[in-house]
C-alpha cells in the first residue's frame, strides 16, 4: 500500500508527487530517497527520514527510460504488488502518450494528466485499475505533446501498426482505418440510444467548441484537430456505462459496444532470442518469447473460445510458463481444454509464454561463416558472410537484414575508403553506413530449408597503400594534369568527419545482428486451432482472423 508516489527525473528531482495518505511532508521522503539511492541499489530501500522517529518507511522504485517511479510504502506493504503497479503505471503513461520512450519534459508538460491517471489508478494507496483501454474512456485530457510529435502523427500510427505486423497487408490496414473511424463515431452513436439529456448538453458544447475554434483559430491549442476530436474536448461528458464497468463483474469490458462489422484479429507472435559467441561457437541464449496479441472489434458481450494446440497436448514447458490476460478463465487451461474468454475492447495481449530451446537446436537464421581475409600484398581485404535458413521449406522470410559491424575492422586495418567498396551477394543488396560503421545486408525474401540452402555475401575493401599514395602525391605535385575528377560524395572525408574524436569514446565490441520476419509460421509450432465467437443476445455474423509469425527478439546476435 503506497503512501506517496513520486515520479523523479534522472537527477532525482521531483517531477510529480502524489500524497495518497496525507503524509505531513512531501519533500523529506524525496530527499531521503536521494540520500539512499545509489547506482545498482536493489529495488527496495529502507529507511525513515530524519524527524520521523518510527523508521517505518521503505522505498520501492523502478527506473524506466530516464525516469524513476518511486513509491513510499509502509512496513506491511506488499512489495510485489507495489512493483507491479509501478510497472503498469509506467506502461499506462506510455500508452497514453503514445510514445515508446517517456522523458522528463513529457511528464512536466502533462502534470495534470499524470495526476489524473494516478488518481484513477490508485485510491488511498489501494490499486484500482491499470488497464489503459478502460481508463482512456474516463480521462480525456488532451495530451500536450511537443510539436515534433504532432507533425509526425502518421509516423506514430505506423508504430502502432508495427505491433500488429509490418508486412503490407492491404486489406487489414483498410479494415483498421475503418475501425478507427468507427471508434470515433461510436461515442455519440451510443448516447442517442441511452442518454438524451446528456446528448443535448453535448450538442451544445460541440457547437460551442466549434464556434470558438473558428474564432480563435490562432490562439486555441485545440483548433487544429477541432473537426475530428470534438467529443474529446468535452471532458465532462462520459458514457455512464463505462463508469460502472470497473465495479462490474466483467470489469475489463464496457457494455453497449457496437460495431457495424464484427471482427476479431488474433496474432501469435514468437520472438526468438539467440546469442552466440562465434569464435568459440558457444550458444549463450536460445529462447522463444511468445505472445498472442489480439485486436477486438466485436459488439456486445461476446464469448470467445479458442483452442491452442499446446494446451490441448498438455505441453509441459508451455503450461509452466504461460501467463494469461485477466479475461481468460484459467480453470480450463489446466484441464487442457479450449480457453474461453470475454475479450476487452481494442488491443490486448491474450497470453505470453516463454519456451527454452536446446542449445543444439539450430537458430532460425544461422550464420555459418564469418571470415575476414586480408591480402596485404595486394592491398585488399575480403569479408565473407554466409547465412543459412533453418525453418520449414514451405515458408519464406518477408524481411531479412544482417547488420555487420565494421568498427573493429576499421580499428585493426587501415581501410582506404577512397577506393570503392565492392560487394557481391547471392540475394538482396548491401548498404554501407558511413556514420555508424556497419554494413547492412538486406537479403529480403528467402525460402526456408534445413541447411541445404546457403546465401553468401562477400565484400572487398582496399587497404591503405603507402607506396601508391606517395606516388600519387608525387605525381600531383609534379605533373601539369589536374587531379582526377571525383563525382559523387567523397566517402573517406565524410567518414573522417563523422569519426573525429571517436578515439576518446569507449570501444565496445559490437555483435552482428540479424533482423528477420517469417510470416505464417511459429518456430515452436504453437498454433490456434480454432477460434469461435458467440454472442448469445445479438447473434451477429463475425469474422475471426488468425495469423502467426516468427520474428527476431531485440537480442538475436553473434558476438564476433
Amino acid at each position: 500500500m503506497s503512501s506517496i508516489l513520486y515520479i523523479l527525473s534522472e537527477t532525482l528531482e521531483t517531477l510529480v508527487a502524489r500524497n495518497l495518505r496525507a503524509v505531513p511532508s512531501l519533500e523529506q521522503p524525496a530527499a531521503q530517497f536521494k540520500r539512499l539511492y545509489h547506482k545498482g541499489a536493489p529495488p527496495v530501500l529502507r529507511g525513515g527520514y530524519p524527524g520521523d522517529l518510527e523508521d517505518n518507511w521503505a522505498y520501492v522504485y523502478i527506473q524506466r527510460d530516464s525516469l524513476f517511479f518511486v513509491s513510499v510504502v509502509g512496513n506491511d506493504a506488499d512489495a510485489v504488488e507495489t512493483l507491479h503497479y509501478l510497472e503498469q503505471f509506467y506502461l499506462l503513461l506510455r500508452n497514453y502518450f503514445d510514445v515508446k520512450v517517456l522523458d522528463k519534459n513529457l511528464v512536466l508538460d502533462n502534470t495534470v494528466l499524470v495526476m489524473e491517471l494516478l488518481d484513477e489508478s490508485i485510491d488511498f494507496g489501494f490499486v484500482q485499475v491499470t488497464d489503459a483501454g478502460l481508463i482512456r474512456d474516463y480521462i480525456r485530457v488532451k495530451i500536450n505533446l511537443p510539436e515534433l510529435h504532432t507533425t509526425q502523427d502518421p509516423g506514430s500510427i505506423q508504430l502502432e501498426d508495427d505491433l500488429y505486423g509490418s508486412e503490407s497487408d492491404e486489406e487489414r490496414k483498410k479494415a483498421e482505418k475503418r475501425r478507427r473511424k468507427q471508434l470515433q463515431e461510436r461515442q455519440p452513436a451510443r448516447t442517442t440510444k441511452q442518454e438524451l439529456g446528456h446528448l443535448r448538453k453535448k450538442v451544445m458544447q460541440t457547437w460551442k467548441g466549434k464556434g470558438s475554434g473558428k474564432k480563435h483559430a490562432g490562439v486555441s491549442q485545440n483548433s487544429d484537430n477541432d473537426g475530428e476530436g470534438d467529443d474529446e474536448d468535452d471532458d465532462t461528458f462520459m458514457n455512464s456505462d463505462i463508469a460502472k464497468t470497473t465495479v462490474m463483474a466483467v470489469s475489463w469490458r464496457a457494455k453497449g459496444i457496437h460495431y457495424a462489422k464484427n471482427e476479431f484479429f488474433l496474432d501469435v507472435i514468437e520472438r526468438v532470442e539467440y546469442a552466440m559467441d562465434y569464435p568459440s561457437q558457444t550458444v549463450r541464449k536460445n529462447v522463444i518469447h511468445g505472445e498472442i496479441v489480439c485486436k477486438s472489434f466485436l459488439s456486445g458481450m461476446p464469448e470467445l473460445r479458442a483452442s491452442i494446440n499446446k494446451i490441448l497436448h498438455q505441453d509441459k514447458q508451455f503450461l509452466a510458463s504461460c501467463k494469461f490476460h485477466q479475461c481468460v478463465d484459467l480453470a480450463n487451461v489446466a484441464e487442457g481444454k479450449e480457453i474461453t474468454f470475454i475479450p476487452p475492447d481494442g488491443d490486448f495481449v491474450l497470453c505470453t509464454y516463454d519456451l527454452k530451446r536446446h542449445v543444439r537446436d539450430q537458430p532460425v537464421i544461422k550464420m555459418s561463416r564469418f571470415e575476414i581475409k586480408a591480402k596485404p600484398a595486394k592491398h585488399k581485404l575480403k569479408m565473407y558472410v554466409t547465412i543459412e535458413p533453418h525453418f520449414k521449406p514451405t515458408n519464406a522470410t518477408s524481411k531479412l537484414n544482417v547488420r555487420i559491424p565494421l568498427g573493429r575492422l576499421f580499428r585493426e586495418y587501415r581501410i582506404d575508403l577512397r577506393r570503392p567498396l565492392r560487394f557481391k551477394c547471392d540475394s538482396g543488396k548491401v548498404l554501407f553506413n558511413v556514420s555508424d560503421d556497419f554494413l547492412l545486408w538486406e537479403v529480403g525474401a528467402i525460402k526456408g530449408g534445413h541447411g541445404e540452402t546457403q546465401v553468401e555475401m562477400a565484400v572487398e575493401f582496399s587497404l591503405f597503400d603507402q607506396e601508391a599514395y606517395d606516388r600519387e602525391q608525387e605525381e600531383l605535385r609534379n605533373s601539369m594534369n589536374p587531379p582526377p575528377l571525383v563525382t559523387g560524395p567523397r566517402i573517406e572525408e565524410i567518414h573522417k568527419q563523422v569519426h573525429e574524436g571517436d578515439e576518446s569514446k569507449e570501444l565496445k565490441p559490437e555483435p552482428l545482428r540479424i533482423d528477420f520476419e517469417i510470416p505464417y509460421s511459429t518456430l515452436s509450432g504453437t498454433n490456434v486451432e480454432y477460434l469461435k465467437i458467440s454472442e448469445p443476445q445479438l447473434q451477429y455474423q463475425s469474422f475471426p482472423w488468425v495469423r502467426s509469425r516468427t520474428v527476431n527478439a531485440d537480442e538475436y546476435l553473434y558476438s564476433l
Binding site: N19, R21, A22, V23, P24, L26, G40, P42, P43, V44, R46, E54, N56, A58, Y61, I62, V73, N75, D76, D78, A79, V80, E81, L83, H84, E87, L108, D109, T111, V112, M115, D123, F124, F126, V127, Q128, V129, N144, H216, V219, D235, T236, K244, V247, A249, S251, L319, A320, S321, C322, K323, Q326, D329, L330, A331, A334, E335, G336, V349, D354
Partner: protein
C-alpha cells in the same frame, strides 16, 4: 509546446496577475490562460513552494464556485489536499465549497470531494467525512464507485479517529457477508476491515468464517486483477480452515491463479497456498510442480520483480527442512547483464540448491565466473566455491578444492587472494584432508596483500608449520613490517609467533618471539595490541619462572588449543520462518529477518491455531504421482472452478473418506447455490449439479 515554463518557481503575485488577466477577458482564451495559471500553481506545489502558494488561497476560492470545468475542479481539490495535509487550519474556509461538491450530481466530483475531505487531517473535515459516509451507508442505492471510495477512505480516517471507524466496522462486515451483487465492493470492504484491524495493535486479528471465505473465493473468476490480488493477500490468517476438506477445496480454487499474468496475483496465490499447506499433512506432487512452475515463470519478469521473487520466495522455501519447490539449477545461473543485486541473490540461491547431484553443474558455472572480467563477480564466485566446500561433505569438498587449485594457476592477484581466504575456512572444516595442497598454496604467499588474505595466509602457515620446513622464512616475510600492518594482521602475527615458540622452543623461534613482543609493546601505538603483547609476555615469563603455576602443557592449551570445526548455518529459525512465510511478498521478507528486528512498530504474525494445524512442518508428506492418468482426472476434477460443485480431489487420508460421497457433494452444492446471484456471469450448471437434479427426479 510553450508550456515548458509551467514548471518553474513563481511568486504568488505573478500568478495572481495572470489569473486576473484571464478574468478580464471574457472570451475563451481567458479560460485557457486561467487554466495555465492554475497548472502553474500545481507545479509550484510539487516544487514545494508552499508559503507563496498559500497566499493565492482567496483567488482559488473565487474560482471554485463559478467554474464548472472538471479540470479546474481537480486543480482546486489538489490545491486543498496538498496544503491541507501540511497546514490544515489555514484552509478551513474551503469547507463549504467541498461540501457543495459532495452534493454534486456528478459522481466523479463527489469522489473528488470525499477524498479531499479525508486527506485533510483536521477534525472539522473529518467530521463531515464521517457524516457523509454514514449517510451513504444508510442509502441502499448508491453507485459502486462512490461506495468503494468511501470504504477505502475509512482506512485513511482510521489514522485520525480509530474509535469512530471501529463503530462502522459492523456495516463493513455486513457488506463482506451479504453484499453479493457487487464483488469489487465486497473486496474493498474486506480489505478495509483487514487494514483497520491490522493497524490496531490491541484488537485481535481480523477473522472471517470459512463459509464467507468460500463465498469470496467463488467470486475469483469475476474479479479484476487487482481485486484478486487483494483478496488473496488478505485471506491468509484471516480465514482459519477447520477441516482438511476445506483446505483442499480452497487450494483447488486458488491453483489456477498461479498462472495469472499479474505477478501480484500469482505471488499472492502462492502465499495463500503456502499458508494453507500448514493445515494439511499430505500434498500431491502436482501441486508442488505447479508452485515451482509459477515461480519459474515469475523469474522472466523485469529485474526488480525478479529480485523480489528470488529473495523472498526461493530463499524462504529452500531454507525449509524439506523444500517445497523443485527447481532446476540452470534458472539461477548468472547472466552477464543482471544487475548486481540479482547476481548476489542468485549466488545465494545456488548455494542453497547445491547438493551432491547438482554440484558439478554449479561448479562449472562458478568456475566460469571466477575468471570473469568483473572483479566483484569473480571474487564472489570464488567465495561461493569455498562456501560450497564447507557446506557439503568431504567428497564434494575435494572437487571444490581441485577447482580452486586450478584457479590458482590462473594467476590473477585478486583471485589468488580470495582463494587464500576461503582456503582457511576449508581447512577449518577439514583439518587433515587437504594437507598436501598446502605446499602449493604457500607458494603464492607473496600475493597476499589484503588484510583478510594476509590473515588467512599467516594462519595457514602457523597451523601447518609441521609440514612446512621453511615456515620461519615464510613467516618472516609477513612479520618484517609489523608496525605498518592492519590491526587484524598485527594480532595474528603476534599470536602466531607465540604459537611457534610454544610448539618448538628453539633459539630461532625465541628470537622471533621476543623481537615481535618487543616491537608490539614498545613501539606499537595501538593499546589493544600492546596489552595483548604484555599478556603473552607475562604468560610466557610466568611459565618459565614458576613451573607449578603454568605447566608447558597448560601453556600449549592456552595458546595453541584445539579449534572447533566450523559449520555454516543456512537454516532459519522455525519461528522466524513461519513468520516470514506469512509475509511473502512484503518488505520484511526481503531481509529474511523477523519483522520485529526490521520494523519496531510491527505486529508479529502467527499462524492461527486450529485443530488441524500441522505444528511440525517437517511432517508434510509429498504424495508422488503414482499414475499420471489418475492425476489428470483428479486435478481436472478439482479445478473446475467455474462449476466447483463436483468432488474435489481428496487425499486418501481425508477425515471422512468412509462416509458416502453423496452427502459431501450435497453440502457443496448448497453452499454454492447460496451465492448464485443474478448479476454474476451466467455459467453452465456443473455436471454434478445436473446429476443431482436428475437423481431427484428418479
Amino acid at each position: 509546446m510553450s508550456d515548458q515554463r509551467i514548471f518553474a518557481r513563481y511568486r504568488a503575485n505573478e500568478i495572481r496577475a495572470e489569473l486576473q488577466n484571464g478574468e478580464m477577458k471574457k472570451v475563451k482564451s481567458g479560460v485557457t490562460k486561467k487554466k495555465n495559471a492554475l497548472r502553474k500553481i500545481i507545479a509550484n506545489l510539487t516544487l514545494g513552494n508552499y508559503s507563496e502558494m498559500l497566499q493565492l488561497f482567496p483567488e482559488v476560492m473565487r474560482f471554485w464556485p463559478i467554474e464548472d470545468d472538471i479540470e479546474v475542479k481537480r486543480v482546486c481539490h489538489e490545491y486543498i489536499r496538498t496544503l491541507g495535509s501540511i497546514k490544515p487550519r489555514s484552509i478551513i474556509e474551503a469547507l463549504p465549497f467541498i461540501l457543495r461538491d459532495l452534493e454534486s450530481r456528478n459522481e466523479r466530483i463527489q469522489i473528488m470531494a470525499l477524498s479531499t475531505l479525508v486527506s485533510v487531517p483536521f477534525n472539522k473535515f473529518t467530521d463531515e467525512a464521517f457524516d457523509f459516509i454514514i449517510k451513504l451507508a444508510g442509502k441502499r442505492t448508491t453507485s459502486g464507485n462512490l461506495l468503494k471510495n468511501a470504504i477505502y477512505s475509512l482506512v485513511q480516517l482510521d489514522d485520525y479517529d480509530h474509535e469512530r471507524v471501529m463503530s462502522l466496522t459492523s456495516t463493513l462486515s455486513e457488506i463482506v457477508d451479504h453484499h453479493l451483487e457487487n464483488p469489487t465492493i465486497q473486496i474493498a470492504a474486506l480489505n478495509a476491515l483487514y487494514q483497520i484491524h491490522d493497524r490496531d495493535a490491541k484488537a485481535p486479528p481480523y477473522h472471517i468464517s470459512v463459509d464467507t471465505a468460500f463465498n469470496l473465493l467463488e467470486l475469483l473468476p469475476t474479479l479484476n486483477e487487482w481485486d484478486t490480488s487483494t483478496l488473496l493477500e488478505v485471506l491468509p490468517i484471516t480465514v482459519v480452515p477447520q477441516s482438511h476438506d476445506d483446505v483442499y477445496d480452497m487450494i483447488d480454487m486458488i491453483l489456477p491463479h498461479l498462472q495469472h499474468v499479474n505477478s501480484a496475483v500469482s505471488l499472492n496465490a502462492l502465499k495463500m497456498i503456502l499458508y494453507l499447506l500448514n493445515y494439511i499433512d499430505e500434498v500431491n506432487e502436482t501441486i508442488i510442480k505447479r508452485l515451482s512452475n509459477s515461480v519459474v515463470a515469475l523469474l522472466e519478469k523485469p529485474a526488480e520483480l525478479q529480485f523480489l521473487v528470488l529473495r523472498n520466495v526461493i530463499l524462504l522455501l529452500l531454507s525449509r527442512e524439506q523444500s517445497l519447490l523443485k527447481l532446476d539449477v540452470p534458472y539461477f545461473f548468472i547472466e552477464y547483464n543482471d544487475p548486481i543485486y540479482i547476481k548476489d541473490t542468485k549466488l545465494e540461491c545456488l548455494y542453497l540448491l547445491s547438493n551432491e547431484e547438482t554440484l558439478p553443474q554449479i561448479l562449472d558455472e562458478l568456475e566460469e565466473h571466477a575468471t570473469d572480467i568483473d572483479i566483484q563477480m569473480s571474487r564472489k564466485a570464488v567465495r561461493a566455491i569455498g562456501n560450497l566446500a564447507v557446506k557439503l561433505g568431504e567428497k564434494s569438498a575435494q572437487k571444490c578444492v581441485d577447482i580452486l587449485l586450478h584457479l590458482l594457476e590462473f594467476g590473477v592477484d585478486y583471485v589468488i587472494q580470495e582463494i587464500i581466504s576461503v582456503f582457511r575456512n576449508i581447512l577449518r572444516k577439514y583439518p587433515t584432508d587437504f594437507k598436501r595442497d598446502i605446499r602449493t598454496l604457500v607458494r603464492y604467499a607473496e600475493y597476499a596483500q589484503e588484510t583478510e588474505s594476509r590473515n588467512a595466509m599467516i594462519w595457514i602457515i602457523t597451523q601447518y608449520s609441521d609440514i612446512l620446513p621453511d615456515y620461519l622464512e615464510l613467516f618472516e616475510t609477513f612479520s618484517q613490517n609489523v608496525l605498518n600492518e592492519a590491526p587484524e594482521v598485527q594480532f595474528s602475527l603476534l599470536t602466531s609467533c607465540v604459537k611457534f615458540f610454544v610448539r618448538s622452543p628453539s633459539p630461532a623461534t625465541e628470537k622471533l618471539c621476543v623481537q615481535l613482543l618487543k616491537e608490539c609493546t614498545e613501539e606499537a601505538g595501538n593499546p589493544d595490541l600492546r596489552s595483548r603483547a604484555y599478556m603473552y609476555w607475562r604468560l610466557l615469563s610466568v611459565a618459565r619462572e614458576n613451573t607449578n603455576m603454568v605447566t608447558p602443557d597448560m601453556l600449549k592449551d592456552i595458546v595453541d588449543g584445539e579449534l572447533p570445526i566450523i559449520e555454516l548455518n543456512t537454516k532459519l529459525d522455525p519461528a522466524v520462518l513461519e513468520e516470514l512465510e506469512l509475509n511473502i511478498g512484503s518488505i520484511t521478507s526481503i531481509y529474511l529477518k523477523p519483522t520485529s528486528q526490521i520494523f519496531r512498530m510491527n505486529t508479529v504474525k502467527h499462524l492461527p491455531r486450529s485443530r488441524i494445524l500441522d505444528t511440525d512442518k517437517g511432517m508434510l508428506r509429498v504424495i508422488p504421482d503414482s499414475s499420471s492418468n489418475e492425476n489428470v482426472s483428479s486435478s481436472s476434477k478439482g479445478r473446475v472452478s467455474t462449476s466447483k460443485k463436483n468432488g474435489v480431489h481428496r487425499a486418501p487420508t481425508m477425515s471422512d473418506f468412509d462416509k458416502p460421497a453423496e452427502t459431501v457433494y450435497k453440502l457443496k452444492g448448497e453452499r454454492k447455490s447460496s451465492s448464485n446471484s443474478p448479476s454474476k456471469l451466467a455459467r453452465k450448471p456443473s455436471m454434478l449439479m445436473r446429476k443431482l437434479t436428475l437423481k431427484k427426479k428418479f
